[in-house]
């Protein structure tokens, strides 16, 4: 079976990405709660044309 080709990330735009362990402590926290509230309002009632 042919292996699935991995998509390129930020490198496609010439940006190098490094891992920063200090960001892991933000995982699970909602940093932009107002934005998420707005997004939930939209996606909960989203139709596609």
């Amino acid at each position: 079976m042919k292996a699935k080709k991995k998509l390129k990330g930020a490198a496609l735009l010439g940006v190098k990405v490094t891992h920063d362990k200090s960001l892991n402590k933000l995982s699970g926290k909602v940093l932009f709660p107002e934005k998420l509230k707005e997004a939930n309002k939209v996606v909960g009632n989203l139709k596609w044309s």
């Binding site: 930020a10 995982s27 909602v30 998420l36 009632n45 596609w48 044309s49």
Partner: protein
């Protein structure tokens, strides 16, 4: 996308949080980008803002570094990185004000050809008591946008 970008973008292990530094007249300001799962697990919300000295995040106030386009281009790089890791997820984003949402539309318009090569792009507007997502049209004002990475490319 030939806009200048900040070269040093860092990410968390799960590629849901990113950060980079904006530099300009106001000094060095850390910008944090986060992709958060919405009530629909297939759609993630994109948020980004300035990390303030008190540790809070502000996605409303301009940071005064006069580097708007560079910031947006770097956030776009974070979108590419997220969508490379989660290609099946959709990303919803909107501005914190109508003028910011218009700015995002202008940014999509400028980079439309490049983005269309890599993403399905939809514009979202309110329709009666619901929201309607339609294929992005350059001349339409939208209240938000949804993008999804193309995993198969057709070359004509």
């Amino acid at each position: 996308m030939n806009y200048e970008k900040y070269a040093a973008l860092s990410k968390s292990d799960d590629a849901l949080e990113f950060k980079f530094n904006s530099t300009g007249p106001k000094g060095e300001i850390c910008i944090v980008v986060q992709f958060t799962e919405t009530s629909d697990p297939d759609i993630f919300n994109l948020g980004f803002g300035n990390l303030l000295q008190n540790g809070e995040l502000d996605d409303i106030v301009k940071n005064g570094n006069q580097d708007r386009d560079k910031i947006l281009a770097t956030v776009a790089a974070a979108v590419y990185e997220f969508s490379a890791q989660y290609p099946d997820k959709l990303i919803f984003f909107s501005g914190s004000s109508p003028s910011r949402t218009r700015l995002y539309r202008m940014a999509i318009n400028i980079h439309y050809e490049t983005l269309m090569n890599d993403y399905e792009i939809y514009g979202v507007n309110r329709l009666d008591n619901a929201y309607l997502a339609e294929p992005f049209r350059k001349t339409v004002n939208y209240m938000g946008f949804v993008v999804k990475r193309k995993t198969i490319k057709f070359v004509i």
